[in-house]
C-alpha cells in the first residue's frame, strides 16, 4: 500500500500543479510531504500566486485561498470523477477576472463531469446551460420555477 499511496499522491500532485497556473494565470503550487515514510506521511499544500514570494496557505487572501482550493478539487475530480459535482456559492469571494477563469475551467471539465452550481453571480449564471430558480413566493415554502437568465438576475443579484 506504500506504492499505492505514492502513485495516488504523484497523480494528484501532477494535476494540481497543472490546474493552479490555469486558474491563477501563472504561479505554482504543489502538495508537499511531512515525512519520508510513504506509509505515515501527512500532506500539506504549497501555493505561490504569480509575482509573489509567499507560499504558505495562511498568508493567501480570501479569493486566493478559494481559487487554490478549487484547483485541488478539480485535480481530485480529474483523477477520479464522482457521478456529479455540486458547488454552493463557491464564486462568492472571487473578483470578475477570477470568476471568468473559473468558468472557463468548469466549461472544459463539463465534458467529463456533471456540475450543479448554486450562485448569485451573473457570469456563473451565463456559464450554465439550464437554470432552476427557487422561490419562497409562499413564505417558508420553497418552490421551483423555471427561469431564463434575465429572470434569474432579478431573483438573485
Amino acid at each position: 500500500t506504500r506504492q499505492r499511496f505514492k502513485h495516488t499522491y504523484e497523480q494528484i500532485n501532477d494535476r494540481f500543479s497543472a490546474m493552479f497556473p490555469e486558474l491563477f494565470g501563472g504561479g505554482e503550487a504543489a502538495l508537499t510531504l511531512t515525512e519520508q515514510d510513504w506509509l505515515t506521511t501527512g500532506v500539506r499544500v504549497m501555493a505561490r500566486p504569480p509575482g509573489k514570494r509567499n507560499a504558505s496557505i495562511q498568508m493567501l487572501s480570501g479569493g486566493e485561498k478559494t481559487l487554490t482550493a478549487v484547483a485541488l478539487l478539480f485535480a481530485l475530480f480529474e483523477l477520479n470523477p464522482a457521478p456529479f459535482c455540486m458547488l454552493d456559492e463557491i464564486d462568492a469571494p472571487l473578483d470578475d477576472a477570477n470568476v471568468a477563469r473559473f468558468c472557463d475551467l468548469v466549461r472544459t471539465m463539463s465534458d467529463k463531469v456533471q456540475f450543479i452550481v448554486i450562485t448569485h453571480n451573473k457570469l456563473t449564471m451565463e456559464l450554465t446551460e439550464q437554470l432552476h430558480g427557487v422561490t419562497m413566493a409562499e413564505p417558508g415554502v420553497s418552490r421551483l420555477v423555471s427561469v431564463d437568465i434575465d429572470t434569474a438576475l432579478g431573483m438573485a443579484g
Binding site: 499505492r4 499511496f5 495516488t8 494528484i12 502538495l31 511531512t34 501527512g42 500532506v43 500539506r44 499544500v45 496557505i57 485561498k65 487554490t68 482550493a69 478549487v70 485541488l72 478539487l73 481530485l76 475530480f77 477520479n80 464522482a82 457521478p83 456529479f84 459535482c85 455540486m86 458547488l87 454552493d88 456559492e89 463557491i90 462568492a92 463539463s110 465534458d111 456533471q114 456540475f115 450543479i116 452550481v117 448554486i118 450562485t119 456563473t124 449564471m125 450554465t128 446551460e129 439550464q130 437554470l131 432552476h132 430558480g133 427557487v134 422561490t135 419562497m136 409562499e138 413564505p139 417558508g140 415554502v141 420553497s142 418552490r143 421551483l144 427561469v147 434569474a152 431573483m155 438573485a156
Partner: protein, 169 residues
C-alpha cells in the same frame, strides 16, 4: 453514470413534492437569500448517507422534516430520491445491469429511517458502498461543497489531507 433527477418531499423547506431535473452537465440554481438553495445540498448529503445532524445544520436528524410555516402545519415525513442514468453500465457490482438507478431515503418523526435502491430495501452501508471510491459520501465528500466550506479543503491538517487523497485513489 449521470444524475438525472433530485426529488424532494417534506424535506426542510420543500414541503410539497419537488423535482429538480438535470438535463445538462451545466445546471445553475439561483434565488434570493433564504429561499431554499442550500437545502438542496443538504438533501443530497442526507440521501447519500450523512448521519450527523450538525452537518445538515440541525440539532437532531428530525430537523430535516418540514416543521411548518406561517400558513402550513409541520409534516410527519421527509424523503429524497436521486435518479441516475446508468445506461453506460459504469456502476459496478450488482447494479451494473440496471439502466436507471434510484437511491432514496425516508424519515418519519418517530425516527424510523429507510433507504431503498431501485425500490429494494437497503441499508445505509449499501448506499455508501454504491458511491465508494468516488468523492460522494465518505469522510471528505469532496463532490458536494457546502456554502463557505471550500477553503477547508486546503486548510486541513496534514493527516486529514492524506485521507482525502486516499479516498480519491
Amino acid at each position: 453514470m449521470r444524475l438525472t433527477h433530485i426529488k424532494l418531499a417534506g424535506f426542510k423547506s420543500f414541503v410539497d413534492p419537488t423535482t429538480l431535473s438535470l438535463a445538462s452537465n451545466l445546471t445553475g440554481v439561483v434565488g434570493p437569500n433564504g429561499c431554499g438553495k442550500s437545502n438542496v445540498i443538504d438533501a443530497v448529503r442526507w440521501v447519500t448517507g450523512e448521519s450527523n445532524a450538525r452537518h445538515l445544520r440541525g440539532e437532531a436528524l428530525e430537523d430535516v422534516i418540514f416543521n411548518g410555516s406561517n400558513a402550513r402545519k409541520p409534516v410527519g415525513r421527509a424523503s429524497v430520491e436521486l435518479r441516475f442514468d446508468n445506461s453506460q453500465g459504469k456502476l459496478g457490482g450488482e447494479w451494473a445491469s440496471y439502466a436507471e438507478i434510484s437511491v432514496r431515503r425516508e424519515l418519519t418523526r418517530d425516527g424510523a429511517s429507510k433507504y431503498t435502491i431501485n425500490n429494494t430495501r437497503a441499508r445505509r452501508r449499501d448506499v455508501v458502498d454504491l458511491f465508494l471510491g468516488t468523492g460522494l459520501g465518505g469522510r471528505s465528500n469532496y463532490a458536494v461543497i457546502e456554502q463557505g466550506a471550500v477553503n477547508r479543503l486546503i486548510e486541513a491538517r496534514p493527516e486529514d489531507m492524506r485521507q482525502v487523497l486516499e479516498e480519491a485513489a
